[in-house]
Amino acid sequence: MKLTRRTLFAATLAAPAILTRRAMAAPFTPSADLVAAAKKEGKMVYYTASFTEVEQEVINAFNKRFPFVSISMVRASGGQLITRIKTEAAAGKLSADVIDHSDRGLMKGIEDLFQDYAPPNAKDYLESSIVSPKLWPRLTPAWSIAYNSELVKKPPQSWQDLCKPEYGNKQIGTVIAASGGTTWTRIMFERQVLGEDYWARQAATKPQLYPSGAPLADALVRGEAVIAPLIFNAIYPKKRDGAPVEIFFPPEGVPAVPYATGIPKTAANPNAARLFLDWALSEEGQAFTIKDQGNLTALKVPPFLPEGFDPKVAKVWVPKYEDFRDLHDKWIEEWNTVFGYRQ
């Protein structure tokens, strides 16, 4: 299947949210048969490109409801995970029951490895967030701007503010473009929405470059960098636990990155996998990732909105899939040149 549709995720996600936001998420009620079958399997293996701690929280939340499925996790960065999956699959030794990845493009490329799967609430999902009928947006993280509230007295208000000389001299920390699908989404947004010269103007403030978002979030709390564009779920748990940080969704747009998650044909515990994904994709599961972890959702009607996310102000932005796939190498190289990052 060739993807040609433009993913106008932005309008579709935000607009109905204003009108029909519910007070509470509908509880997840699986069929007794599925529960019995999952119970019989009793375990499953979960491959993810998300962060260890974030996913451990997800597993803990799932186990609160279904303690009889023990989940072991394999976490690797995007590129390393894909290599492992492809090689294991080729050797007939893929041990995953669920695979979860941030790069929809790469997952689309290995679509054949997955079995037919759709959650019971499949129709509630935005079509634009789905790249294959076998892969589902279990997680939809979004970009925000965060700052250390102890150290920044006059915080920035927008993406454009990050180019102001007053935030220069290594106050800003930013993640390198090549770090993965999420950052690639952000830098596309910067160039396509904020202006052709945005990179150059931002680079002129001499930001510190970080290899990925998680260490940057930590550096922000410590005060190594005091302002940083960050995936909301990387910094929100720290704020929730009391760290001196403030986070906001800038008015020019909020780049979002729907994941692709599915069950391989070779899954040894397909029922446990199904129960886990059904739960994670249910309104209850999505409400958890929004409320406790600060993600968005690709559900047409979000059960919650993350703290500080005002759909009247924040416009969600998702790249055109073709651009996402085709511009990658050229633009990353240009970004590296502009920011003086060696590659």
Binding site: Q56, T83, T87, A90, S95, E150, P211, P244, Q343
Partner: protein
């Protein structure tokens, strides 16, 4: 006549056995080293993954390799790597040699304690060392700078720099130099030094003209080992270099494998450059050592002599204490602060001592994740298996290359040295490609990890063992042969007991290296064989320095206890690496 025929037969049998022995070693090395390296070479020359895409789909070309070779960024990164490792090695030799001398050859008080604590940096995973020193020496938020500011001093330290990387490298890899030189100093016949002094040379002159030249193979081995180990370290340059935009080969290769899609062929090509550099170094080392006799252990009884430093012994003690504070106390304090403090934002010094900021939160988090405990157990298993198999194999190879005239021993030595040059991250992929297809349930077990570690650290172990084998005089073996012992019996009764400190040192080294090894584990672990190093990286990449620090402390305690046990076991051995640490 008859006896001549029997002698002829036994010579023929002996030769046959020697051939069979060499063939066996070569077969093992082919499986452990050559096959994965071939996979790596294939990776350099093609863009496809040989397992998934099949060999037929490969487009072999040198283009990829030349693109990498002519990339100016690669030149700069290579330069950074060489500079960081050369600087670090010089620093490590200065520290390691000085400590070896203090501990083995002087009457400095509390030598035992100095020896034991001086080895502690070896147990610290590089990533943790990097994190600890970034907490201490960051130009903006470093604790040292907070104290300097409080004291009204304008000067600030900045470890996010090349000198910073060199400083931390030197401190953390000094124990390698120490390990080699201390056991050489201990096994050295002091009559040579006495002769120098009787001839009128002062202690300093003796040190530089007799002592150090005599233990040169140990110094060079320690230097070479620490240099190549530094070349392969990811954690320290990753934490300290990244904020200053300083890339080295390992961080570059890690980046190449992390990107989506990953660029293994480029990573493999960069690794080839690294292999060539290391190959040249190994060649130089052998050139320096060859043509000299380094026999220092002879069949005479002696006891290493301690130099009476008089009141100067308090100066050496003072220097040792300063070193221990910098290398052990400060980073451990930094880790303790990080592990117990809720957030690592430290406004000022009163806030550092505010008890309300501290809790067991991060330890709770650490152990609420079941993978933590699993990873500890798995790591112990892998460490033991690696040390056992690796120790036996390294002894077999070391003895064959240093002491026997078995056919093909030069080739065996060469092949066993190859893995030294390959960074773990890249060889990890090569092992995965090479071994995933093996029949049976090999992939996904801890055995595949152990084998990868044995192969990867073969050069380190063989080198450590060969040095101690080289020091044992042939006359001791000859004496056994004259007494009618066979080769195996001579090895068992003469070589093994005499080389025991070396063997135990090599196995301990292997155990520690295996426990910390990250690169080659990344691709070989499975959900049930998760190891500590991978779990630690997971916490670090997940942006939680505090949980990382908590896990590091746990790991340091476990390693400390295990090394303590090893020490006890090795007591009573001739040299006693136990005492060396």
């Amino acid at each position: 006549m008859e006896s001549k025929a029997t002698a002829g037969n036994s010579v023929r049998h002996g030769r046959l056995a020697a051939w069979a022995w060499s063939a066996l070693l070569l077969a093992i090395l082919a499986f452990l080293v050559i096959y994965p390296v071939m996979m790596l070479l294939l990776g350099t020359l093609t863009d496809s993954n040989p397992v998934t895409d099949g060999y037929a789909a490969m487009h072999l070309s040198l283009g990829n390799f030349f693109t990498v070779l002519t990339n100016p960024n690669v030149h700069e990164i290579l330069g950074n790597s060489l500079l960081a490792c050369a600087g670090g090695t010089v620093f490590a030799v200065l520290i390691g040699l000085f400590f070896a001398w203090i501990v083995v050859r002087t009457n400095t008080p509390w030598k035992g304690l100095i020896a034991a604590t001086g080895m502690l940096p070896l147990f610290v995973p590089p990533l943790v060392a990097g994190v600890a020193w970034s907490i201490l020496g960051s130009p903006k938020t470093g604790l040292i700078n907070t104290f300097l500011a409080k004291a009204g001093i304008d000067w600030r330290i900045n470890l996010y720099s090349m000198p910073g990387i060199i400083f931390v490298f030197g401190m953390y890899y000094a124990p390698y130099v120490y390990m080699f030189t201390a056991s050489a100093l201990r096994n050295m016949d002091p009559s040579l030094e006495e002769a120098a002094e009787i001839s009128g040379a002062g202690p300093v002159r003796t040190l530089f003209t007799v002592t150090f030249p005599l233990i040169l193979p140990a110094i060079i081995s320690g230097m070479l080992l620490s240099f190549v180990v530094m070349l392969g370290i990811y954690g320290i340059p990753a934490v300290l270099g990244a904020p200053a935009n300083i890339s080295v080969l390992t961080t570059y290769i890690f980046a190449l494998t992390s990107w989506a899609p990953p660029r293994y062929s480029t990573a493999a090509a960069v690794a080839m450059i690294l292999m060539v550099v290391t190959g040249i170094l190994v060649y130089l080392q052998q050139k320096v050592i060859s043509g000299r006799s380094f026999t220092t252990v002879a069949g005479k009884a002696f006891r290493p002599r301690a130099l009476n430093l008089g009141p100067w012994r308090f100066l050496t003690l003072g220097l040792a204490i300063v070193y221990l504070i910098i290398v052990v106390v400060l980073p451990t304090l930094a880790l303790l602060v990080a592990a117990f403090r809720k957030f690592l934002f430290i406004r000022d010094i009163p806030s550092l001592f505010d008890a309300k900021q501290y809790s067991l939160l991060h330890f709770d988090r650490l152990f609420s994740n079941p993978a933590t405990l699993t990873s500890i157990i798995n790591t112990m298993k892998v460490g033991v298996i690696t040390a056992m198999i690796g120790g036996v194999l390294a002894f077999a190879i070391g003895y064959t290359t240093v002491r026997s005239n078995a056919p093909g021993r030069r080739v065996i030595d060469m092949i066993a040295t190859v893995p030294v040059a390959i960074p773990g991250l890249v060889i990890g992929v090569a092992y995965l490609w090479a071994w995933i297809g093996l029949p049976g349930g090999f992939y996904g077990t801890i055995w595949i990890l152990a084998l990868a570690f044995v192969a990867r650290f073969l050069p380190d172990t063989v080198k450590a063992l060969s040095t101690s084998l080289m020091q044992i005089h042939r006359e001791l073996e000859e004496a056994a042969w004259i007494c009618g012992r066979g080769t195996l019996s001579t090895i068992a009764t003469i070589m093994l007991p005499l080389a025991r400190p070396g063997v135990i040192a090599a196995m301990t080294l292997l155990f520690v290296l295996a426990i910390r090894e990250l690169g080659s584990s990344l691709f070989l672990y499975s959900s049930s064989t998760m190891v500590m190093a991978v779990q630690l990286l997971g916490y670090y990449e997940g942006g939680n320095v505090s949980v990382t620090a908590a896990f590091s402390l746990v790991q340091m305690v476990i390693l400390g206890v295990l090394i303590g046990i090893t020490n006890r076991l090795s007591r009573g051995a001739t040299g006693g690496v136990g005492r060396a640490g």
